[in-house]
Symmetry: C2
Subunit: 579 residues, 2 copies
Amino acid sequence: MKRTHQNGELRLSHANEKVTLVGWVAKRRNLGSLVFIDLRDRSGIVQLVFDETMEESVKDVRNEYVLQVEGIVSERKDKNPKLATGEIEIKVESIKIINTAETTPIIVADETDALEDTRLKYRYLDIRRNQIKNNLILRHEVCLLVRNFLSKLGFVEIETPILCKSTPEGARDYLVPSRISNGKFYALPQSPQLYKQLLMVGGMERYFQIARCFRDEDLRADRQPEFTQIDIEMSFVDEEDVWSVVESLMREIFTQVKGVNLPEFKRLTYVECMSRYGSDKPDTRFGLELNDVTEVFKNTSFEIFKNIIDAKGIINAICLKNGGDKFSRKDLDKLQDYAKVYGAKALSYLKYSNQELSGSIAKVVSDDEKAELIRKFELAENDLLLFIADKKKVAQTALGALRTKLGHDLGLIDESLYNFLWVTNFPMFEYNEEENRYVAAHHPFTSPNLEDVDKLMSNQENCYSRAYDLVLNGYELLSGSIRIHDQKVQAKVFEAIGMSQEEAKDKFGWFIEAFKYGTPPHGGVGIGLERLIMILSGTDNIRDVVAFPKTASASDLMSEAPNSVDEKQLKELGIKLNK
Amino acid sequence: MKRTHQNGELRLSHANEKVTLVGWVAKRRNLGSLVFIDLRDRSGIVQLVFDETMEESVKDVRNEYVLQVEGIVSERKDKNPKLATGEIEIKVESIKIINTAETTPIIVADETDALEDTRLKYRYLDIRRNQIKNNLILRHEVCLLVRNFLSKLGFVEIETPILCKSTPEGARDYLVPSRISNGKFYALPQSPQLYKQLLMVGGMERYFQIARCFRDEDLRADRQPEFTQIDIEMSFVDEEDVWSVVESLMREIFTQVKGVNLPEFKRLTYVECMSRYGSDKPDTRFGLELNDVTEVFKNTSFEIFKNIIDAKGIINAICLKNGGDKFSRKDLDKLQDYAKVYGAKALSYLKYSNQELSGSIAKVVSDDEKAELIRKFELAENDLLLFIADKKKVAQTALGALRTKLGHDLGLIDESLYNFLWVTNFPMFEYNEEENRYVAAHHPFTSPNLEDVDKLMSNQENCYSRAYDLVLNGYELLSGSIRIHDQKVQAKVFEAIGMSQEEAKDKFGWFIEAFKYGTPPHGGVGIGLERLIMILSGTDNIRDVVAFPKTASASDLMSEAPNSVDEKQLKELGIKLNK
């Protein structure tokens, strides 16, 4: 018998039982000839106590040694209420050293001051720490829950290929040279998008996959070169059907994992969302909404505002109730610097105090305009107005970023809330300055809004799509869309992004060919698994929820991948290094 | 309401209900102005009936059109007992053509005479066929069952990287050039072997993963360049613990999927298995075992046998009861040709008839030897003995292959049986003629048998390991081992395969470093998922259980991957084609 119990499960109710335990030495201290050892396994820690004179070998036992012990569960005199097993200890009768351990480069404890690079190099030691271990277990539990939940709804999990075809019109692909077909390459999938749509053509009706995806992009803090997506696709559906599945899935996850009954999922169109929050992934746990006050200044004599309005820009404002005394002139300059990062040229402000507005633009704003602002915002003593006047997109984005910063800095956020928001009707296209053409904002298989189909060729800018995001507390948790199932519409969309029929056939021919043979209406989502686990576990570091993560330069500090390979391997693949 | 029911679930009990259905036209026929359409969705087929004069549009409806219909469930006059919904039909009141379809390149029906290449090119149509669709659903169900079963046993599913480090000592890796570190490469994992062992070092104790694996090898009929493995690893275990988990998992799968209560899992060591069946993955659903009759011929005057025995070869025989008249001289020549493929130089035979042995070696076998054969095999009228005399390995392998062929050809196999067999104690090393050294037979982290540790350096040939396979009906379903957890033993094994300390450090340093810090005893298995689903679904074509399979030349006929990529992409990766 290697073990009779998990260490972490022992309680006072086990008192006087003889147990066999295994685990790692988490801590060791001597008290005279008595030795106390905290023995850790995956389930937790239990205290061992024994007499050193009993077994010579114990003298050598150090941290992280692997032990097997036999002993009697006994009630402790000095109970430790912080430990689940703190009411008992094990009076050890025999001990066996299963393996030794050198001094570990990082300490296996809840708190660590080890550099992250060291933790990544010795990831197997980092995984012994509760923080990482528990995140991995949580990730497992959520995945299992997702699989069971979707399966009950009739979804079938289907594995799609990792060795795929390189497709244009997306992020950068990871490539895999072919040995059998020298000079040709596979690409690792950025998502199973095309395959899942083909499964809908194939009549699978309800598909999902917890799927590995790959993007060879320069990594931001919250990205990994390989990541995992809860990928869902459904046939014979519209937006409401997809959202209903996602909402019920999220309710199940948050009930099971957090014990939380989620409030209603709000909805905003992209246009509404940008005008109210200056972001397509707003944190709606606090107010501080944006207000378009262009109308207030329509006859302004303040030249800067006037020029912006004439150039079809807007004046955007947020009102900080009772915030006037929270910001010095210097603070406001810093806020302006912050706004400038997002392209704003300036941040103006007005404080309301003693029935009067003072501040950076107090002298150039007319009395009528002031009165209108006071009325509109129902200004009270010590309120603060912040203005950004600029091109619409800049005024929204910069003030939206400022809103988020203020929400955090001023502690306006109720961290106990989980505010879900559907953002819908995204723009169909966005203009790519570099390529001097419109490109698909989501991907070119996203259905345009039915009423916008006629605008596809003539008015791309005002063409909206059936793409949607689900936002949670300011993070984009998923995105998805209803897809095109009509070949004629697909042809128009390709044309709208400047792709000739020949080009479309060359790039996506194998895919659009499928749509000739009876394609059902379909749509779906891809949910960022790491993001979801990060939110559920309360970490803001994606590497805390990945077993063996990579650094920002896409390298694995533990195995030292990527690495150099033999010349022979390259020769077989028909490639050579381009030095 | 897009649909009220799945087509395949409608029964007589639904009679007179008004239903809305969707699906694909599987068949259409006219009877006067009446039109009958078989409407197919994922759940099955239901018959629609309606009057063509009612709706003009119906005239155009052809196979694989996508329809939405409303109608009343009605009892059929001419019931179809072959169809689950065969007692009813839908009297259609309204019909909507959701999408049209061109004539499909393959017919969507259970039986197909389409070439496999055509089926692979139009895989999305092939998936509409019950055979493929049902296999994919079965695969999903088995995976879900495996996940739930292992989770209940405390196993945690953990995703290990796909972008890994290229490791020597295995099959050929797929490589992925790095853009950020030009000149360096990732490798796709042949299995999560090293990562799962590091998870054991990391204290996860019970890990599993349904993991994608990759091998860039020339493909046999039952291989794919990417395949899936039910990967399991456990700490603080020996063979019995691992086997117990696997056996209970297999029992659960076969009970749930096949309604079969599996018989006892038999066990044989590799040596026993080779001597009794001439194979390390024997089909034990029939007898026809091999017999070493070297002893019978120890004093033979038959020079060929004598020379073989002197050279430490063996004489191996199988006895075909009542098989004497089943084989003409020509048939036996063909069997000999078959044996020669496996390296045998000749196949000898003796028939027993009228109390006498006749046949190819009747004249050179002495009367004493004949008497001994008659006694040993309890020969009766019309029995047949087949002999291969050769080096032990050849005599076993060739006669083992012949045994399998005879088992199939003579219909000796009871197809209803699921005979599981653990083959244990595999050789630790095998001699690689090309490299002129011993290499690890399993992988270099496999533990030697404890009693063979002393032989590691001096007697590699007779060193056996704690590696095991699970064989089902002649197929290797999984392989696994207890791993080395003792650094000293690991060092010896590297030395035994001719790897210097420096070389070992260079190749596996990052991995063996981990073993310094308290490594628990551990072991596990990798179960071939495709093989398991093939056996459960009764197909012998691996491509029937993979959604989007590749051909023997590792290409995807549907997407035409691999393909050529832009020069720009290669430049970013720091590689060029070696023409």
